[in-house]
């Protein structure tokens, strides 16, 4: 292979002259402007409105009070917050428990079917999330296929699946497990298999080898998967809506209510800010964890 030469590895950036960067800067302008206008400023509006209140005629008005946040500090809301966190964590755990073995099996035992298997895995996840949740709600409902089957098998009253935390978590897992599988699969693919062989010599046993060799090597993939599952799961409302009930409502459902039924946009904004704060906290932990992982490799 070619020998790496001096200038190609040294600071590519400083090769660019100032005019050069300025020219290409024009290319950056439209997308940057778009993102700023439609994304950044809209997020800012949410934060600002959270300090507002409902004015005359039901319209949302900007303000500077913490009223909305104080309103959130009560048991109803706090229960929902805690519940959402628990559901999201549970979803991550389930996705790991389900996703890792699947990723592992395909990566290490897929052989020449590997790509086909991954494709077969990916395709269903691009069918509408809504439709898939709907499908499960019909399957698991009291009159649904599963219960009909169970009743014919003798279970007279069937099992109540829907409107339980389990259903919501299962729905979330079903919806997001692909985001756990793909990163883990990618890091397994990048892993040097001879490490496992070496590990088997050292650790005398497939389980210990797995824990001591494979698991650490896929840490980056797992962290990526955890991020990609936790964040959307925390903010989800479709699963709780279709598979759960008021007793399983998450932050997402509350937010949706405030904007569509309650018509209290400032309060909804405050709820959204709380959600964003939770996400930001998680991101910080995630970034620290990945930095630590990078330092250790």
């Amino acid at each position: 292979m070619a020998v790496a030469d001096d200038s190609s590895t040294i600071t590519k950036p400083t090769r660019r002259s100032a005019t050069h960067t300025r020219l290409w800067g024009w290319l950056l302008l439209p997308p940057a402007a778009w993102m700023f206008i439609f994304f950044v400023s809209s997020i800012v509006i949410v934060v600002l409105l959270s300090f507002g209140h409902v004015g005359v005629g039901g319209r949302a008005v900007f303000g500077s009070s913490l009223e909305n946040y104080r309103a959130l500090w009560n048991s109803t809301y706090l229960t929902v917050f805690v519940r959402s966190l628990i559901y999201a964590v549970a979803t991550v755990v389930c996705c790991l428990a389900v996703g890792y073995p699947v990723a592992y099996t395909i990566a290490l035992h897929g052989g020449r079917y590997k790509n086909a298997l991954i494709a077969a895995l990916v395709i269903p996840f691009f069918a509408s999330y809504l439709i898939r949740m709907y499908a499960w709600s019909t399957l698991l409902s009291d009159e649904g296929l599963v219960n009909t089957g169970l009743k014919t098998l003798g279970l007279k009253d069937g099992i109540r699946f829907l409107n339980t935390p389990g259903a919501v978590i299962a729905g979330l897992t079903y919806g997001f497990v692909i985001f756990m599988i793909l990163p883990i699969y990618a890091s397994l693919e990048r892993m040097d298999l001879s490490l496992i062989e070496a590990g088997k010599d050292l650790y005398h046993g497939p389980f210990r080898t797995f824990v001591s060799v494979t698991l650490p090597a896929t840490r980056a993939g797992m962290l990526g998967g955890i991020l990609l599952v936790f964040l959307p799961a925390l903010g989800d409302f479709v699963s709780a809506q279709l598979l759960g009930g008021p007793g399983t409502y998450m932050i997402g459902n509350l937010i949706q209510q405030q904007f569509f039924e309650g018509q209290n946009q400032p309060l909804g904004s405050a709820l959204t800010v709380v959600l964003m704060a939770a996400l930001a906290v998680f991101m910080v932990f995630y970034l620290r964890a990945t930095q630590r992982a990078e330092r250790e490799t």
Partner: protein, 368 residues
């Protein structure tokens, strides 16, 4: 700081100057990668920039091509100052190390790319592309896509694509580095032949000294951004001017010591005679370099310089045998002997033998 462009008749180009670099400097942040280079490259020369990784040879090439702006100094191509001219307007073309073929075009499309940019008529382009492909012997692959080609074939397309534009100078950035040995040797021969045929000035960057010696009309050895020596391959090999130049090409067998009474004292009691170098000051530190093939181990001629040594290792290379001989503590000489007889290894010298080494005084090159 080097200015070897005009030192000695062996260095100056004998034809019209194709490229003149004057005080060419490139600084990246706080590192000076190319340090005030002065160089003249003659028209029609096959000129190599040779040096280790990081010596600045590729940066220099990129500045000539125009991909890198010079921090200081100027570049003249064919007498015209092109220092601030953008790459697409310079009369040079480059053959890249990674071939850099356009994946979305076939071979003909690739080769004709530069011609189309110039706006030449279609018929003309077709003719020129055909000629270029014939030159690199790839006519039958005219409609192939880059992904279908082997490394050697890709390299030839890259060459054709550059040459078809009839540049004043062709720049080649380690073009053969990614090829396996046999293919590399084959391509070296082809490159040399093509260069002779088209007569275009080639500036060839490489870290492989064999390649540079084989292909070049003249070589510039670079190190740390400066040119250590410029000359024909023979000049550079037989008459190295610096310790680096001596050591970079082949083995130099550099012996350093204090010059006293016509000999270099390498160590207490061990002195190597260096007759005929009265210019050296008494007591000064100096070095001599003697090429391995110039050192004899038997049947010495009368005026040879002789020193004793101990054989440390013997390495058989089929046509030759290499001996490592210690003549002083931490002074190990490499000797290359042709295997002129069919004598078996045991009949030659073996480890531990006390022997004498000898060379003709004129074969010892003094390096200050």
């Amino acid at each position: 700081m080097t200015d070897l462009a005009g030192t000695g008749t062996a260095d100056a180009p004998t034809q019209e100057t194709a490229i003149r670099l004057a005080g060419l400097t490139k600084v990246f942040g706080s590192t000076t990668v190319v340090d005030h280079l002065d160089l003249d490259i003659g028209k029609g020369e096959f000129f190599s920039l040779l040096g280790p990784s990081g010596c600045g040879k590729t940066t220099t090439l990129r500045m000539i091509a125009g991909f890198s702006d010079a921090t200081e100094g100027s570049i003249l191509i064919g007498g015209t100052d092109v220092t601030s001219v953008p790459p697409h307007k310079r009369p040079v073309n480059t053959v890249f190390q990674s071939y850099a073929l356009f994946e979305h075009l076939d071979v003909t499309g690739n080769v004709g790319f530069g011609l189309r940019r110039k706006g030449l008529p279609k018929a003309e382009i077709t003719r020129m592309v055909g000629e270029a492909l014939e030159l690199v012997q790839l006519s039958e692959k005219a409609t192939a896509r880059p992904r279908e080609l082997s490394g050697g074939q890709k390299q030839r397309v890259a060459l054709a694509r550059a040459l078809v534009n009839r540049p004043e100078v062709l720049l080649l950035d380690e073009p053969l580095a990614a090829l396996d040995l046999k293919l590399r040797h084959q391509m070296q021969v082809e490159l040399k032949t093509i260069q002779r045929e088209v007569g275009i000035t080639f500036v060839f960057v490489t870290h492989d000294q064999d390649e540079a010696l084989t292909l070049s009309d003249r070589v510039a050895i670079m190190n740390n951004g400066v040119i250590e020596q410029v000359g024909t391959p023979e000049d550079v090999y037989e008459r190295p001017r610096t310790a680096f130049a001596a050591g970079f090409i082949g083995t130099s067998n550099l012996m350093t010591g204090t010059y006293e009474h016509g000999a270099l004292t390498l160590a207490p009691g061990i002195a190597v005679p260096v007759p005929g170098h009265a210019e050296l000051a008494e007591g000064a530190t100096a070095s001599i370099a003697v090429r391995p093939e110039k050192i004899w181990m038997y049947e010495f001629e009368p005026h040879m310089v002789r020193i004793p040594g101990t054989v440390v290792a013997t390495v058989y290379h089929g046509a030759t045998t290499q001996y490592l001989v210690d003549v002083a503590p931490s002074v190990r000489i490499t000797v290359l002997e042709q295997n002129l007889s069919r004598a078996r290894n045991e009949d030659r010298w073996s480890d531990g033998d006390r022997i004498e080494l000898g060379w003709k005084p004129e074969h010892a090159v003094v390096i200050r």
